[in-house]
């Protein structure tokens, strides 16, 4: 019986590997940039920020400022957004039993896009209103999808997805109308719609972190129940779990996290699909592995993508959504092919 190892538990070596990947991406993100910072000095500087530790990193004040006010907030934001989008994607895929579900399925993107467009039309560059407007738009869109997706026998996956498509079309139409009606700086609006990680100090991280962390806690608590949900609703119920209740909590949490991520970074596509699928291919399908690993690897992926976005056309910057889509779309097709082969 010793050979009969249960495969759902996350084993330490895998977890350590994912952590190492995230750490490597973070270091890369901190060290790559127009102003060179010695790696050893950067590491010592970060460690010295921990409470109770006082070390001399040997960095100049300018280097310290770049590190602490520009690069580190951006890397942390990337990790936060990447982790949230990947986790939310995996969660949606679990509760809807649909491998292609992603955080934008329920109209989150369209809703946030509409909110952002309104913010842009009121205030040229979007301004401080932007994250709030995007957030409100995303929550409204998901609320609309969820209400329309009700069917007499509860909420079926199909009606919900169809409602998501309808809501997306409607919100996109409104958004396009507004863009034509009012004088908007289309260039900056599109840069937001394509997704970007640009920070002013720590304010974006502070805006998104509480929601992202709350969402992550709720989703991760449900990891074993999502494995039960892989059966159909009736079998899930016969095992003593109310599938609708699990779905409501997980969808709410995933939407909250996605809205928070979208509000600070725009629409970064494909992270919610690429990362969970890679994790499944490498480490198995159990959500007890997929969820925590998607979180860590999602963070690492987006930080690395941001490094690419910053360096490919330096000194200019690509929208990070372009990088994730460039990597993600071919990968998505690869996943489809592999899936077809194995079933």
């Amino acid at each position: 019986m010793a050979a009969a190892q249960n495969s759902t538990r996350l084993r330490p070596p895998v977890l350590i590997l994912a952590f190492a990947l995230l750490l490597a991406a973070v270091l890369l993100g901190i060290l790559v940039g127009p102003v060179s910072i010695p790696p050893a000095g950067a590491i010592v500087e970060l460690i010295s920020r921990l409470p109770g530790i006082d070390l001399d990193s040997g960095l100049t004040i300018r280097q310290t400022d770049i590190l602490w006010q520009i690069r580190f907030p951006r890397v942390v934001l990337g990790a936060l957004v990447g982790a949230t989008l990947a986790l939310a994607g995996a969660a949606y895929q679990g509760v809807f039993r649909n491998a292609l579900a992603d955080p934008f399925l329920l109209g989150v993107a369209a809703g946030a896009g509409l909110g952002a467009t309104i913010a842009f039309s009121q205030n040229g560059g979007g301004g401080p209103l932007l994250p709030i407007a995007a957030f409100v738009g995303a929550v409204l869109a998901v609320g609309a999808t969820y209400t329309l997706g009700r069917s007499p026998g509860g909420r079926s996956t199909v009606t919900l997805v169809v409602a998501g498509v309808a809501v997306t079309s409607f919100f996109t139409a409104l958004q396009t109308y507004l863009q034509h009606r009012s004088e908007i700086d289309l260039r900056s609006l599109y840069s937001w719609l394509l997704g970007r990680l640009s920070t002013t100090g720590w304010s974006e991280v502070r805006t998104a972190a509480p929601y992202a962390i709350a969402a992550a806690v709720v989703i991760l608590l449900h990891r074993r129940l999502l494995d039960v949900m892989a059966l159909d609703d009736q079998e899930t119920a016969s095992l003593g779990i109310n599938p609708s209740r699990v779905r409501v909590w997980v969808v709410l949490a995933a939407t909250l996290g996605t809205a928070a991520a979208v509000a600070v970074s725009g629409l970064i596509a494909f992270v919610g699909i690429i990362v969970p699928h890679t994790v499944r291919l490498l480490f198995g399908v159990s959500y007890r592995r997929v969820l925590p690993l998607s979180c860590l690897i999602g963070g690492a992926f987006l930080v690395a993508a941001d490094v690419a976005a910053r360096t490919v056309v330096a000194p200019a910057e690509l929208p990070i959504g372009v990088v994730t889509a460039f990597v993600g779309a071919p990968f998505f097709l690869l996943v489809l092919r592999l899936n077809r082969k194995s079933t």
Partner: protein, 275 residues
């Protein structure tokens, strides 16, 4: 203990009357077979007993109303094996069997060593310990059937509800599957309710048969009394020959109908004309 008592059970789904005033008592440790033609309401009755359909009337287990049980309590009373269980690809057999422990594991907790022991014992009991590390999609029909049964066993519920446990199996595996259910029933003193289409096997394994037709229990009793040529013609619209089998059991042999042999075009309507 786990005597199941149904009183006045009815069910309406989407405007259709599915079940009508069913009274039925299944004794503790008894094996009841639900038989009857397609659409008679057998699966609905099974799901109604398990509490997953909004039935009228009362279902009591050991005196307690099933509707008064919490979700998890109910799942510790009934283990249900549907006709076509969902077996998600990529999942290992042992992890699938572990899903049966769900009602015993706290909502946000994970399995303990006791749960692992129960799962391993259930798999050993059904002689599938060697399949533990196999993915579900690589298993044969017979292996999969045992894995699904092991999941129900790991649930440690006193009442086992099986919907057509043999439909996907060849004749050898059919007998083997029912033989395993019988061993488990004796071993663990389980109450078993199964939907079965194979009347001859139902006659051999079940203590009593409940013949369902049109959402009602048309007849209930020992196989020899329920499985008559007249009842088969009336409720199934089928011509059968009922013979005495070895060991006092009865054997139901379907016969090609004389009517359809003469006029094949009437075959489609022939089952309705028996009403």
């Amino acid at each position: 203990m786990s005597t199941v008592v149904l009183a006045g059970v009815g069910l309406t789904l989407g405007g259709n009357r599915i079940l009508e005033s069913i009274d039925l008592t299944v004794e503790h440790g008894e094996w009841i077979g639900l038989i009857g033609p397609n659409g008679a309401g057998k699966t609905s009755l099974l799901n109604g007993i398990a509490g997953s359909l909004p039935i009228e009337g009362e279902v009591r287990v050991g005196g307690r109303l099933v509707t008064s049980l919490k979700d998890r309590e109910r799942a510790r009373v009934f283990a249900v094996v549907p006709q076509a269980p969902v077996t998600p690809p990529g999942i290992l057999a042992i992890d699938y069997v572990m899903l049966g422990r769900t009602p015993h594991i706290g909502y946000f907790q994970r399995e303990g060593s006791h749960d692992v022991n129960v799962v391993e014992a259930a798999m050993a009991n059904l002689e599938i310990a060697s399949l533990a590390g196999r993915r579900l999609e690589t298993l044969s029909g017979g292996e999969l059937q045992r894995v699904v049964l092991a999941r129900a066993l790991a649930q440690e519920a006193p009442i086992l509800l099986l919907d057509e446990p043999t439909s996907a199996l060849d004749v050898g595996h059919r007998v083997g599957a029912l033989e395993r259910v019988e061993l488990l029933r004796r071993d663990r003193n389980l109450t078993v309710i199964t939907v079965l289409h194979d009347l001859t096997l139902a006659a051999q394994f079940c203590d009593r048969l409940a013949l369902m037709a049109g959402g009602r229990v048309a007849d209930i009793g020992q196989a020899g009394a329920v499985l008559t040529e007249g009842a088969m013609r009336k409720h199934y619209g089928a011509d059968v020959v009922v013979m005495d089998g070895p060991g006092g059991s009865v054997v139901v042999v379907p016969m090609r109908s004389s009517r359809s042999r003469l006029a094949p075009s009437r075959l489609i309507g022939s089952s309705d004309s028996a009403e």
